[in-house]
């Protein structure tokens, strides 16, 4: 007995199995990311006045990454259309682009992560705050023993609140310079990791989960592009379905980013 509706759609539902399956899976993904977005809103609404950060991420890098993903979406569509038109070469070309774009996205994202992990907020002994990217630590730098000093490229402010809104017009005129601070002046020193602020917590969680999806999607598409494409020669119809289904997943990942970008970078 042949397994039904793997290739041809069922008459009354108009769907083949895998297409229904992927849509159901995407429904659960909507709830997964939906819960995280709800968490974002709740944390933001619940933050103390003035303590929700703005403009902590580089908008231009974010925009570039958005364009990368959108472009990968159109190449995915074109790969599928090529399959439908039975143009194998074109399919190979477009999905090669998709994979390259996916890797570009991940690279840019890791650069951004790196940027955050070298960014420090330093609580000074005099109650002020220094904030900026690490330039160097002296060899004997040790916070616990209070020896050595650290150099950052950044600026100094009187109150922590002033570090929150980097979007306000005055923030554009901040002079950043190299500051060298001896360990004896440092009360606390913390990177912009997820533990630093709930904004960063949700930023890292959302984008890491999203990047995980990008990587998984790229692996699937990579498989279909490489070893999986053997099916093209035996069962092109079914192969086209696979390209469609993996494409649906890919577009969904793109769709999530369309919301992540303004929410995390712009607002």
């Amino acid at each position: 007995m042949d397994f039904p509706y793997i290739v041809e759609p069922r008459r009354d539902t108009g769907l083949y199995n895998a297409k229904l399956g992927i849509w159901l899976f995407l429904a659960s993904e909507v709830m997964l990311f939906g819960a995280l977005f709800s968490a974002y809103v709740l944390l933001r609404v619940g933050a103390e006045p003035g303590m929700w950060p703005h403009g902590w991420l580089n908008v231009y890098i974010g925009t570039a990454n958005t364009i990368v993903l959108i472009t990968s979406s159109i190449t995915t569509v074109m790969a599928w259309v090529s399959c439908k038109l039975r143009q194998y070469r074109r399919f190979k070309f477009f999905h090669a682009l998709t994979i390259v774009l996916a890797m570009t996205f991940v690279c840019i994202k890791s650069y951004e992560y790196h940027d955050k992990f070298t960014h420090y907020e330093i609580t000074l002994a005099n109650g002020k705050f220094a904030d900026g990217h690490l330039v160097e630590r002296s060899k004997d730098f040790d916070l616990a023993k209070k020896t050595g000093r650290v150099t950052i490229h950044g600026h100094e402010v009187d109150h922590e609140v002033e570090l929150m809104d980097m979007q306000r017009p005055e923030a554009r005129h901040i002079q950043r310079e190299e500051l060298t601070i001896p360990a004896t002046d440092i009360k606390k020193m913390e990177r912009y990791g997820p533990w630093h602020h709930t904004y960063l917590a949700i930023y890292f969680t959302l984008t890491a989960l999203h990047a995980f999806h990008v990587i998984c999607g790229a692996l699937v598409i990579g498989f279909l592009w490489g070893p999986g494409s053997r099916m093209w020669h035996t069962d092109p119809e079914r192969f086209t379905n696979r390209i469609e289904v993996s494409g649906l997943f890919w577009h969904f990942v793109d769709l999530i980013w369309i919301f992540l970008f303004p929410v995390l970078y712009l607002l």
Partner: protein, 113 residues
């Protein structure tokens, strides 16, 4: 390769016409991206308006992706139903959670000396 095609599923992306459609959507998405970045640099008077503008643009973009790239627009009722209910429950999750944790709807304990 040959161009003969066996068509048996619902929608046909085959024609050059629909490829043109995809490219149009792509351009619209790019435009939306630039628009939303540009809008974020403008002060509309209150942050709420900025948020509304950005989310509106994002929703339009999301609609374009879902409707055309994921061809939801020509999809069967079944999938529409599933995604509709999902959207509804997501709205319930977010809406009811925010509503019930907003300070206005919480009980405030007053310490009486």
């Amino acid at each position: 390769m040959n161009n003969s095609m066996t068509m048996n599923s619902g929608h046909s992306p085959e024609s050059a016409h629909s490829v043109r459609g995809y490219i149009f959507v792509f351009i619209a998405l790019l435009a939306g991206t630039f628009l939303t970045v540009w809008a974020s640099f403008i002060q509309f008077g209150s942050r709420e308006i900025n948020i509304a503008v950005a989310l509106t643009i994002a929703s339009v973009k999301a609609f374009l992706v879902a409707a055309y790239f994921m061809h939801l627009i020509s999809e069967r009722k079944m999938i529409f139903c599933v995604m509709g209910f999902t959207a509804l429950f997501f709205a319930g999750l977010m809406g009811l959670t925010i509503w019930s944790t907003s300070p206005d709807s919480m009980v405030h304990i007053q310490h009486v000396p």
